[in-house]
């Protein structure tokens, strides 16, 4: 059963205050959107910079979500230790009975800290959602990286083709060969020397440049 428009409120009528500590604007947005869609509306994003711990302390969040890869986790945990005397202590959320969830959180790169005493049923949906969103973000990132590396490869391929064309032109001019034969010569030389065609082409261009070559 799902009530997307409903505010997630506790029995006391208060919404969970969730703080996302993250320096990746995009990931924080992906997570924040997901939480809002699920009915949480007291959400704040704090980048882990400067005096972020003091800001966080003033906000008195019920749940803090943080990227497991952030170097500032130690700074946050120190705050948890020294804030123990305060009225609203926060402690790390570790439900030891749920190994699968811990594994999923670590795999996804989510670390979560919640107010001591908050009921597990209230926190679990937040953490589940954070795990799903972090994973979705990681997939997005991988797709972007793949697309980028495909673009890079295409760029390299284009450069290589230009180099080979130039080497062919040198052979065509200096040896008076037709294009197909010039290419065949490059290829057979590469095969005989156990090299890639591009390497032979580069060597030929260098040599030709040094000799003040034709092309």
């Amino acid at each position: 059963m799902r009530w997307p428009a409903l505010r997630r409120v506790s029995a006391a009528g208060k919404s969970l205050r969730i703080v996302i500590v993250d320096d990746s604007g995009l990931r924080a947005t992906v997570l924040e959107e997901g939480l809002r869609e699920a009915g949480y509306d007291d959400i704040h994003v704090v980048p882990p910079e400067g005096g972020f711990v003091a800001r966080l302390e003033r906000m008195a969040p019920d749940v803090v979500l943080m990227d497991l890869g952030s170097p500032s986790r130690d700074t946050l945990e120190e705050m948890l230790v020294v804030s123990r005397a305060l009225a609203r202590p926060i402690a790390m959320f570790v439900d030891r009975s749920d190994e699968a969830m811990i594994g999923a959180a670590i795999d996804a790169g989510v670390s979560a800290y919640v107010v001591d005493g908050l009921r597990k049923e209230r926190v679990k949906p937040v953490l589940d959602l954070a795990i799903r969103r972090f994973n979705a973000f990681a997939r997005m990132q991988t797709e972007l990286d793949t697309a980028k590396s495909e673009r890079d490869q295409a760029k390299i391929a284009l450069q290589e083709r230009r180099t080979i064309d130039r080497a062919k032109a040198i052979l065509m001019t200096s040896r008076n060969l037709p294009e197909a034969d010039a290419y065949a010569l490059l290829r057979s030389t590469a095969m005989n020397q156990g090299k890639r065609i591009i390497e032979v082409a580069e060597a030929l261009i260098t040599a030709s440049d040094m000799l003040g070559g034709a092309a």
């Binding site: 400067g50 497991l68 952030s70 130690d74 945990e77 811990i102 594994g103 670590i106």
Partner: protein
């Protein structure tokens, strides 16, 4: 090959692990070592406790804190091998350091005087000084507290200790958020090279043979895999001998420079390896003997007395209540028995005892050892303190009287 993954932080003293992999010592022992670069101690701890890795390059006090349940996630951890001895430096911004002895070499040479100068400088500073530490449960922070307290400074009252990741320390100094920091190399040298700070004290001058990083394993995993553990300790011992050899320092610095390891330049990494430090930007380097070492004097041997010294400091600073149970649990984190078992056939000199009175060796001393002669270097604390592990409460009572 047995796969074995290990989490580490990008610090100079991760060297024995990196060398075990890159110079083939692990492979020769039948271990396929996978290095997992990690950016916080919290994440390193979580990866180890939840079994994402089998081993970790861990702050010795953190291994004890996790075992005692003081650090969010708790689990019984074991440290069968010390990865290094010493290796930290306290660096201070020039405007604060100006209140200390003007000659940096004098400060380094006399940590007692430097501590008193530091105490006086606190009152002269424009605000309560903020000193960066990497973690509450780090040897650096414990040594800093020990050093300051000797001059009557209460580190929790007279200054602010702020936890920051080492990679952000230099930036925090630049913008004036902190007045100095204590961290493992290369971070002190990085701050000096940028002209943002001066090296004021070396950990090795506070405690000549201090404990630093350990190989931490989950105790249940360690007990279930004795053959892998023994093989890996042999590889680590060989790797630490390789790291110690001055002939390898440049190659080691080049190796650590790689972006998948420490990722800082060799010139920033070399001082800790050679012991030749620039204390203040633009000045000629000076020698800090024993700044960091990996192998000699049975450096890998986890003295249980050192685990107890860490416990004594936990009690001293109110991190944990004194109890016989905590004391026993802390001592048992350091597994000198596993070290002995693994390296019994290695021909290395093996200490006869598992505890020693820390700080009692004034000059290099031959000690009782199995298989070969073992000489231990002077291991004193800078204030002449002696830690007798058989009576922690007397030690603490004596510190409180000072």
């Amino acid at each position: 090959m047995t796969p074995f993954s290990i989490a580490f932080l990008p610090l100079t003293d991760s060297a024995p692990l990196i060398v075990a992999k890159e110079k083939g010592f692990a492979a020769a022992a039948g271990i396929d070592l996978l290095m997992v670069r990690t950016t916080s101690w919290a994440t390193l701890r979580d990866r180890l406790v939840y079994g994402q890795v089998q081993g970790a390059h861990m702050l010795a006090p953190l291994a004890i804190a996790v075992t005692l349940g003081l650090s969010q996630t708790s689990a019984a951890l074991s440290a069968p091998f010390r990865l290094n001895v010493n290796g930290n430096a306290l660096v201070i911004a020039p405007n604060f350091a100006a209140a200390l002895d003007p000659d940096p070499a004098t400060r380094i040479g006399d940590p007692l005087a430097a501590a008193h100068d530091f105490a006086a400088a606190i009152g002269l500073h424009r605000r309560k000084p903020v000193i960066g530490i990497v973690h509450r449960f780090s040897c650096h922070a414990l040594l800093l507290r020990y050093w300051l307290a000797s001059a009557g400074v209460d580190p929790d009252r007279d200054l602010s200790l702020r936890v920051l990741p080492p990679s952000l320390m230099v930036e925090a100094l630049r913008v004036g958020e902190i007045d100095g920091f204590i961290a493992g190399e290369p971070w002190g040298s990085v701050a000096v090279a940028e002209g943002l700070a001066e090296i004021v004290v070396a950990g090795a001058r506070i405690w000549k043979r201090g404990v630093e990083k350990v190989l931490a394993l989950r105790t249940d995993w360690m007990e279930a895999h004795p053959e892998t553990v023994d093989a890996f300790l042999v590889a680590l011992s060989q790797a630490s001998a390789w790291c110690e050899d001055p002939a390898h320092h440049e190659e080691l610095a080049d190796l650590l420079e790689r972006s998948d390891y420490v990722g800082r330049t060799a010139s920033e990494l070399l001082p800790a390896l050679t012991g030749r430090f620039t204390l203040r930007h633009g000045e000629p380097p000076v020698s800090i003997p024993d700044f960091l070492h990996f192998h000699r004097e049975a450096a890998g041997f986890p003295w249980r007395s050192q685990a107890l010294w860490i416990y004594s400091q936990f009690v001293r600073w109110g991190f944990v209540k004194a109890s016989a149970g905590h004391e026993r649990a802390a001592a048992e984190v350091f597994r000198s028995d596993i070290y002995r078992r693994a390296l019994a056939g290695s021909g290395l000199p093996m200490p006869g005892a598992s505890m020693k009175v820390e700080g009692a060796i004034e000059a290099p001393l031959g000690v009782g050892a199995h298989s070969g002669a073992l000489t231990l270097g002077a291991d004193g604390f800078f204030d002449g303190g002696i830690f007798d592990p058989s009576d922690v409460s007397a030690y603490l009572a004596n510190l409180a009287r000072k």
